[in-house]
Symmetry: C2
Subunit: 411 residues, 2 copies
């Protein structure tokens, strides 16, 4: 067995036995692609995680219900341009009808099709356009349709985001593909079989896996990927992460606790983390990618809350945009996060540059501090000085373009 | 007794027996005024509330300790341009030395002088300049120095903020004056005898009051004023609210539970609320003042958390800047606030315009919705449909200027 994970420029159709398409159905006013179909040519196990928002959209409610029954699935229907959220009972009926329409065209059962939506909240889906789009997408399905599908799920994203990885398991090469979209209302805190964002992410694999292991694999990937990112701190009504495993690689079914499981999980995590990172890099108006690593916390949850308080601070985010090494804003955000810390033992680094030692300025010259926060990516390491727990968050800065996009774009 | 509260354009020196001054001591690079002195010509009772930030600045630590002893005070020394925060034991010694220097110049005891600082975090106070500023301020003290003091406590504020009110109590006219400064790192959650912001606010009164009543009066004013505002969600290391009552009106000492107490509290609340409102109106880059009233919550704390989640949402704030009646962002923010709500009973209004009824779009024409959010001030009323508790928050939008100020200004 070889645990080396290879990541390439693939997509959700890189794994064998998957087809996809992305078409324009007129749901977006721009005329861009807005309906994606992802189909497995053979029954696939599915695992999912969804938003924790109290206004979980009909698509989320529908998928949660479908995933409660342990059974294979065949397809995922995604539309962009309309979130079908806060649309009441009629919206839920629309979500079901959309899934059923896709099933009919594909010749499978309605219960075999998962759905996802992203876009404007509070407006009913234009069902006639969506049905026509479903028919067009089904006609366009192909084994290299992954990139088109990745394009069709975009909203304020500036570019499609796909990736794929492969790993050897028991002498067979297994592929894992993925696609995702952001780019605002991004602070997903997904929970397996009941999670939340509008990030959407879809992972495909041709591996044969035990259903329980796929669930566990998706769940444990979250804190290494989508649950460690935030663009703007706003958890969406539609956040959805779905994984489909169709067994086309014909390997021995992977079960938890085996070396094969470790290899598969490593590849799965790489795909999920790559997609999550890409989502932040393409965050609304983002000009810098910032990794915030909080260490020395009393609990894992306090490390997480402290890192998130910094990542979501408008004052920190605007300082990063301005390449301003203003560390006062960072410690101030940590100080209001309601976590245990020792003001006299706190230390802070930008990249490898010492900024704060024992709670006071480390004396690094201003020019070195500025250089440390002037790149397209940098790392902030904050040690709270009271424990051994840590958490890492990925975020971006807050620029003029963020304001422009969100003041002028009516979601 | 007449409970009518009159509010005018006064200041902290409107009440009898107070003098103030504001001078430029070179702490700010701009050369603007940066040292304020507020002095009572007779011993005054004091009450205070301060930031809850774990990195509470030396001035906050020092005042908290002073206020633990029930005794009269004589003065407050304030500097802007330097927060003296995250400066360790040396910073605390500086705060004490500054208070002592003011006491010496004024001929009072060091323990009679409270202190406050606002400005850049992490840099030691320039003590020689501050001492010279204290001497200059003491020499400039006057009974109409309130406006100068209000100017000297500013940082990114665009204008000084003062007010005064008067009320008749037992046949005597009692005056209450106040000044405050913002304009960023504003989400104070002050706690009596242990609160936090960098908002600074100072209230003076010539009323004679029982010390315990002054404490209670300040504490109960918070949720109607500074603890209901947020500009950017960032609670500062230096937030301070101090009230001084010197008895120069020679009224019968006001004690809790009396009609006089009710009249005094009404005037005190008016002054505190006016200052808090002015702070939001002058929030960094603010172009609109938004009142968010959450009703129908299961608890007061849930109403508060829900209103704050909306008020601090970057997506909501940028939509308001763009006069975008995008209600999806508001319900989305409410939905992630971890509060009880009924998605099918939620209702939302902008001004008096129905936006959401029973969880779905109320059908109001887009032009009416846009008009409702296009003014310099508007009100958002969200009912969660599950209880009878409510809370109101005052906030502002997030504009290009917010980004400019915070990307270019090194606090």
């Amino acid at each position: 067995m070889n645990e080396t994970v290879t990541v390439d420029g693939g997509s959700v159709t890189t794994p064998r036995g998957f087809m996809a398409a992305g078409v324009a159905a007129g749901i977006k006013e721009s005329g861009d692609r807005d309906v994606a179909l992802l189909v497995s040519t053979r029954p696939a196990h599915a695992a999912g995680a969804f938003t924790a928002n109290a206004f979980a959209a009909p698509a989320v409610q529908y998928d949660r219900a479908l995933l409660k029954v342990r059974k294979p699935f065949r397809a995922v229907l995604v539309n962009s341009g309309n979130a079908n959220a806060c649309t009441g009972a009629a919206g839920l009926a629309d979500a079901k009808a959309a899934g059923a329409a896709a099933a009919r065209v594909l010749g499978v059962s309605a219960a075999d099709v998962l759905v996802a939506s992203t876009g404007r909240i509070g407006v009913r889906l234009p069902m006639a356009r969506l049905r026509a789009g479903i028919a067009a997408a089904a006609a366009a399905l192909s084994a290299d349709g992954g990139p088109a599908a990745a394009r069709a799920i975009m909203t304020t994203d500036t570019r499609p985001k796909s990736t794929a990885a492969s790993v050897e398991v028991d002498g067979k090469t297994i592929h894992i593909g993925g696609m995702t979209k952001g780019a605002g209302m991004i602070a997903p805190r997904l929970q397996p079989a009941g999670l939340h964002a509008t990030m959407l992410a879809f992972v495909t694999t041709d591996a044969a896996v035990e259903p329980d292991f796929l669930d566990a694999c998706l769940a444990q990937s979250l804190d290494l990927s989508f649950n460690r990112i935030t663009v703007d701190g706003d958890m969406s009504t539609n956040d959805t992460f779905l994984a489909l495993a169709n067994g086309a690689a014909e390997n021995t079914r992977i079960r938890a606790g085996t070396p094969a499981a470790a290899a598969f999980a490593a590849a799965f995590n790489r795909v999920a983390a790559t997609l999550a990172r890409e989502m932040v890099l393409d965050g609304e108006g983002a000009t810098r990618f910032v990794e915030i690593c909080v260490t020395g916390a009393q609990t894992w949850d306090e490390a997480r809350r402290c890192a998130e308080a910094i990542a979501n601070s408008a004052l920190c985010k605007t300082a990063w945009f301005g390449a301003d090494p203003n560390w006062g804003r960072i410690v101030c955000a940590a100080g209001r996060a309601k976590v245990a810390l020792d003001p006299d033992r706190v230390s802070l680094d930008f990249g490898g540059v010492p900024i704060v030692r024992a709670g006071v300025d480390a004396g690094t010259p201003e020019t070195e501090k500025v250089a440390a926060v002037s790149g397209a990516e940098f790392r902030i390491a904050l040690d709270l000085g009271v424990g051994s727990h840590e958490f890492t968050v990925w975020t971006c800065d807050l620029s003029y373009d963020y304001v422009r996009i969100n003041a002028e774009y009516h979601t």
